[in-house]
């Protein structure tokens, strides 16, 4: 019991010395950043290869490109870790943009 108490005490002391602000938090993301970069590279390769598969090219490209954009926004721009109001605000112009694109597609068809 006495040893447990002493280790607990030691741990808390250690933590207060390290002062865990951004330091441990930032380092833990480095692996995620590498994974995201690898995913972006692979998705780009699939995109370029998919131009040879003409029949279902466009829906596949839209899915792959959206995935890439969401990966960058969520992890590199840290929107996944932000408070809720930022994703909501940033979604507004994207929704308008998609609607504009759909309207133009109907117009030129």
């Amino acid at each position: 019991m006495a040893t447990m108490q002493s280790t607990e005490h030691g741990n808390t002391q250690h933590e207060s010395e390290v002062n865990p602000t951004t330091e441990a938090h930032a380092g833990s993301h480095d692996g995620t950043y590498l994974l995201v970069f690898g995913a972006l590279a692979v998705l780009t390769l699939i995109e370029v290869l998919s131009t040879y598969a003409a029949s279902f090219k466009i829906p596949l490209l839209i899915v792959l490109t959206s995935t890439k954009a969401i990966l960058v926004i969520a992890f590199y721009m840290h929107l996944r870790y932000e408070r809720r109001y930022l994703p909501v605000i940033f979604a507004a112009p994207i929704i308008i943009g998609v609607l504009v694109a759909l309207a133009i597609q109907q117009l030129v068809r």
């Binding site: 930032a26 380092g27 970069f37 590199y76 721009m77 133009i104």
Partner: protein
């Protein structure tokens, strides 16, 4: 007479200011001390919020340009016979890599690794410059093949769209150089790194725009 006095605002000497209490003085001094000890608290969240609002307006800016390109593209067969997809795929990879190095620079300064932070910034600047240079070579090749800003509607839309994106990349490179100079002169730390976060947000957004342009202009 009494009515006129009612309408007129009270003269200043009629309402003496409330006396400053000792509690208020202590609170003001404490706030000033906290702000002096933690410069990173100074409007950091507000600046990030403003950056996101600016990026929202940029979404609309590029939406219009992409829309104009789509209008021109659907009426025409498309510039695929002159565009070089292989070189542009390599260029896309270069810009994606520069986004990765910018996020690593932020991560490095958050861990107080100043040398790594400066190296990643230099790498980002080099990769961004390489992207713009390859884009310039691509423009030169297109113009020698007769595809220019004034060749037809599609040419105008293509060069307006990719040109404005290239302008954004050039502005990003200038901003990154300015960030590097500040970091080289001892600016930024593990706690004060808002400047890097903001340039990062801008750079990643420009990267996302290119991800979209690569699909819309080159692959479809």
């Amino acid at each position: 007479m009494a009515q006129a006095q009612d309408i007129l605002p009270n003269p200043p000497q009629m309402t003496p200011p409330p006396p400053v209490t000792a509690k208020q003085v202590v609170a003001a001094v404490a706030t000033a001390q906290i702000e002096a000890a933690h410069p990173e608290l100074e409007h950091g969240e507000n600046r990030k919020f403003a950056m996101w609002l600016f990026l929202c307006s940029e979404v609309m800016f590029f939406t219009v340009l992409i829309g104009a390109y789509m209008m021109a593209r659907w009426k025409n067969p498309g510039p695929h016979d002159v565009l070089n997809i292989q070189i542009t795929a390599v260029n896309t990879f270069i810009l994606l890599s520069s986004s990765y190095t910018v996020v690593l620079a932020l991560s490095a300064i958050q861990q107080n690794k100043r040398t790594a932070f400066l190296r990643f910034l230099v790498l980002s600047i080099v990769l961004g410059t390489a992207f713009v240079s390859i884009q310039g070579i691509e423009y030169h090749n297109l113009s020698t093949e007769g595809f220019t800003l004034s060749s037809n509607l599609l040419g105008s839309a293509f060069f307006a769209l990719t040109g404005f994106h290239g302008m954004h990349v050039i502005i990003g490179i200038i901003w990154l150089i300015r960030t590097f100079v500040k970091g080289f002169n001892g600016g930024f730390s593990s706690k004060d790194n808002w400047g890097i976060e903001l340039v990062g947000l801008y750079w990643h957004f420009v990267d996302i725009v290119w991800i979209l342009l690569f699909m819309i202009v080159y692959l479809i």
